[in-house]
Every structure is written in structure tokens, then in C-alpha cells.
Amino acid sequence: MEKVPILKMGDILILTLQIKLHDKMALRLQGDILEKISESRAQSLVIDVSAVDLVDSFIGRMLSDTVTMARTMGTETVLVGIRPEIAITMQELGLELEGIHIALNLDKGIALLQNRGGVRYGED
């Protein structure tokens, strides 16, 4: 099974979800993310879904669960890059990403984390 790379940039973990994520892979990825958080002690996580062609109920739930789990461990997550057609489909499917920080793209996601104090540079 392919592995999804999780990059570390300063205090932020960055994960770009790939297109063909099947259920088993998604669940393993969830475990990988939590392990990476634990080992890196990153304060923030950005999940970029701009390369994802579909968020169905399973992937939606996995994302939402992962964010909650990461928060339980002390790491804030921002979801970025939700494409218009994905937003439409999620809405009609009834998927809600309540309580999840969302930004338009990677830059804005990182800016959001910085404003929230999730990422600290120098004085704080």
C-alpha cells in the first residue's frame, strides 16, 4: 500500500492528500498522522485536499475524526484547498466539518495558524 508523505516545516506538519485514497489507506493514514504528531511534537497540522477529487462520507468522517484526535493531542489542524465541486458534494451529502478550521489554500492556512498563535516566531 502506498504511503502518503507527511512533511514538517518548522512547527507545522503538512500533508497533501492524494487522489485515490481508499478506506483502508485512509485509516492507516489517520494512524500515521497521529504518530507523526507525537514524534514531531508539531503544534499544527495542515491537511491540503486540493488534489482530492472526492470527499465522500467515509473520507469526510476520517478527516473530521483526525482533526478531533489531533486536537486531543494538542495539535490544531487547518483543512485547506477544498475545491468548489467538493464543497457542493459534501454539502449535499450532509457532511459537516463543524469545529474545523478551514482556509482557501496552503498560504492562508499557514497564516491562520500563525494568527491563532499555533505557530510561534520569536516573541510571544
Partner: protein, 134 residues
């Protein structure tokens, strides 16, 4: 253009991905826009996942259809699994017996133009969905 595509579900979560890729390809070939392609793909993902989760095995048949002047896509997802004892309940938002959030069936119905479900306990379930090109 191939008018019928079929995905066999064989107790593997990768089959769900294969079924939805067939659906997207067919939707694209038929001329559906990106939003409708994604709706159709999501609907097929939900139906094929239901087969994977509840029945294990089954098949998803994706067809180009036409009715007088309109053209569309039809997907039939069928299995010989345990069947659904209470369809009304299964069609309610938030109901699920597999802890998967339960958006599956009502969500699929909202994504498509037409939705029909037949199920018999112990015999299996067949869901037929259609979307028309507008």
C-alpha cells in the same frame, strides 16, 4: 463510447475506488460538468461502499441512458447481502448500522435526480440512481 461499464465488488475497499473511477469516466464522457461528475462519483462511492460494508460482494453497473430527447446516466448497485429491514429508517439522515455516519443513502438521493431502492431481508439490496444532462 462504451455504453455500459461494470465494477465487481469483491470484499476489498479498493473496489470502491475502482467503481467510482468508472462512474466519473462515464459521467465525463457523457458531457456532465465537473460538479455533476463529482455528485455522480460521490453517489457511486456511497453505494459501492454500502456493498463493501454490508454485503461484501456485489456489482455496480453504470449505463448511458436516454429518454426522448434527454440523456443521462444510470447506476445500478446490487448485492445479495443481508438486505435492509427498515428502508424508511435507512433513508433518514444520521442513521447507520455500520458507524459510518449514515449519510450514505439519504445523501446519495440528494446528489442524484432519481433514486429507487429495493431490498429484501436475507435476499439483498438493489439501488438504482439516475442523473440527467440538463
Amino acid at each position: 463510447m462504451e455504453k455500459i461499464k461494470e465494477a465487481n465488488m469483491n470484499s476489498n475497499s479498493e473496489d470502491v475506488v475502482a467503481a467510482r473511477q468508472l462512474a466519473r469516466k462515464m459521467a465525463e464522457e457523457l458531457g456532465f460538468g465537473l460538479a455533476d461528475q463529482t455528485r455522480i462519483t460521490a453517489a457511486v462511492s456511497e453505494l459501492s461502499r454500502n456493498i463493501y460494508l454490508y454485503a461484501g460482494k456485489g456489482r455496480v453497473v453504470i449505463k448511458a441512458i436516454s429518454q426522448s430527447t434527454k440523456k443521462g446516466i444510470e447506476v445500478v448497485a446490487e448485492d445479495k447481502g443481508p438486505g435492509i429491514p427498515d428502508i424508511d429508517l435507512a433513508m433518514q439522515d444520521g442513521y447507520s448500522t455500520s458507524n459510518s455516519l449514515g449519510q450514505g443513502l439519504p445523501g446519495t438521493k440528494r446528489l442524484m435526480d432519481e433514486f429507487e431502492i429495493k431490498s429484501q431481508v436475507g435476499a439483498g439490496t438493489t439501488v438504482t440512481i439516475r442523473k440527467w444532462l440538463t
